[in-house]
Symmetry: C2
Subunit: 349 residues, 2 copies
């Protein structure tokens, strides 16, 4: 597997399949793990960090789920490739920016991605399409079990897994679910929903991860507390909260269809028409319009469309993806033209 | 011929044919004429006005160009039918509002329309597609010649034709040309052009006649002076001025294509996409988007489209037309939905 192969495939977590995939894009769990008797990455000297790369790479090679994974040293990648991996949700922006003695291990399906020497020695991520935290948990738990056999984790009987930032200590786990909530946004109920879950210690982020604003009606909701509860309890809490949000979105969609069908069809079809015809389009507008198209598809108003195709366009239309497709650096204006071209080609009936 | 037949046809002046029809929608000449020894309509008693209807109807029946014309007494029409005739540019709004002892004579091709008892006893209008004031003049001159043989016109050797409003006295003639000037608008040269022609005593109106704003980049330009010059001189002046505006618009289109092609294609195709997909659309937005589609068609950027179809949509999407198509009264919101439906149907490839 080669980095350049990724652009020709849809990440497994973006297929648009799995439970409640009309509302839930993907389920994600990540575990923060550190090696015993080794300074955390921010404080580590070059030799220590280098040793972490060697040790973890060897452990990955012995782990069943990572057999066909690639191990990418970030110093060897150019900026577009690094941004490309960020856009595919395979690593954080921070990981791309300072890349000395950092690595990314990623499977061909892109369901597993492990950052080495980010804030912690290991940030293990597993993503699945749809609302399926159980399956996600099974996969990451199996990987974690095997790795713990090959590596000596920093672990305290009192505190649990030790991490660079205390907020991650304990389980080191964060579960998050990416939701598409256009009906709650259109019916202006979304703020009430987000305020309620904030009180339950959940955080909300945008489509493109930490520090990004919610856009195109996408909301990534995750647990804030990782200490004092067992993993299964944390996941149970997330499932309960997300289940309620899904119900509220479903009800809001029904009300929109029953009471504002013409307005809804107008917005959806106009979005589709613009996507199919624009010759210059920004990424912000693209996300908004794709969100409407996805809703139209999920409600059965727009037919003969694969949900996976719409999902893929969210990723494919981002700056580094466009530049990899064109195989050269593009200015912002050139990207807006290329983006419109890609969308027209993919949506051509 | 029946009034209801008109909705199923494109008015001859809207066919999108004739000289310079990429920029000039239509050429129009109207003559104001009054009967000798008869009070002007605003001052006429009912019997006088009734006599004018009888006398002129008889004269029309003897005129070659009016052989198959219908003579519509406006009292016999309902408000939607009257508004329908206004929307087709066959009579003025004023003529529709106060309709006692008023009539409209219109040919099946809709190239000739004569208002009886509007501001003057006769307002004779001839319209042709494209930039063709000579043909228009030939037709209206022939009609006027014949009518002057059957009717006794109010005419003074010193002043020429006498009219209710002194600004029309003399030739009683107004020539006007409907222009589509999107490139002059987009390149912000239009105000300079309109100021220049205002100094030459020309007036500018919108797509829908007197009192309407220019919208969708349409400008109806006509002479203000009708006294002191012969008809041929007035028409010569109009032709000279319009010819220059056509050249400026052509040049502006070339510059746009050469220097801003992507921006232009983006605007045109987005407009087309919205027209083909909207489910609710106002008349204002419709005119703006159709203007862009017409430009795209005229520049060869949008292919396989009849200019006549685009022209027809400007007329067909107006309120009374929508209500005649639906055969019932429609609220503003219902019209916006019906308008979008008609446009989608007509633009379906």
């Amino acid at each position: 597997m080669n980095l350049n192969d990724l652009i020709n495939q849809v990440s497994s977590w973006l297929k648009g399949t799995g439970p409640h995939s009309d509302i839930v894009i993907s389920s994600r769990i990540r575990l923060a793990r550190n090696l015993d008797k080794t300074p955390f990455p921010h404080w580590a000297k070059k030799n220590d960090a280098e040793q972490v790369l060697v040790t973890t790479k060897a452990a990955f090679e012995r782990t069943a789920e990572l057999k066909s994974a690639v191990f990418l040293r970030l110093e060897e990648l150019d900026n577009i490739d690094k941004q490309f991996l960020v856009e595919r949700h395979l690593m954080s922006n921070e990981h791309a920016v300072r890349s000395n003695q950092k690595a990314l291990c990623v499977t061909p399906r892109e369901d597993v991605a492990i950052m080495v020497n980010e804030e912690d020695h290991l940030r293990i991520q597993v993503m699945e399409s749809g609302f399926d935290l159980d399956k996600t948990w099974d996969v990451i738990n199996s990987i974690d079990d095997q790795l713990s056999g090959f590596l000596s984790y920093a672990f305290s009987r009192e505190w649990g897994y030790l991490t660079a930032c205390p907020t991650n200590t304990g389980t080191g786990m964060r579960g998050s679910v990416m939701l598409h909530l256009p009906a709650l946004v259109m019916s202006r109920q979304i703020n009430k929903v987000l305020e309620a879950i904030a009180k339950l210690s959940f955080t909300t982020r945008g489509l493109y991860g930490e520090g990004t604003q919610a856009s195109g009606n996408f909301f990534q909701i995750s647990n804030q507390v990782s200490l004092g509860l067992r993993e299964e309890e944390i996941l149970g809490n997330i499932k309960g909260v997300i289940g309620q949000i899904i119900e509220q979105e479903q009800k809001a969609r029904e009300v929109l269809l029953a009471e504002h069908r013409e307005m809804l069809e107008d917005r959806i079809w106009r979005s589709y028409g613009t996507l199919k015809n624009a010759h210059i389009i920004s990424s912000g507008e693209t996300v908004e319009l794709l969100s409407m198209l996805r809703l139209g598809n999920d409600l059965g108003l727009v037919e003969n469309m694969e949900r996976g195709l719409i999902n893929e366009l969210f990723i494919l239309t981002q700056p580094a993806h466009l530049q990899k497709l064109e195989n050269k650096k593009l200015s912002a204006n050139e990207r807006d033209i290329k983006r419109a071209q890609i969308i027209r080609e993919r949506l051509k009936v």
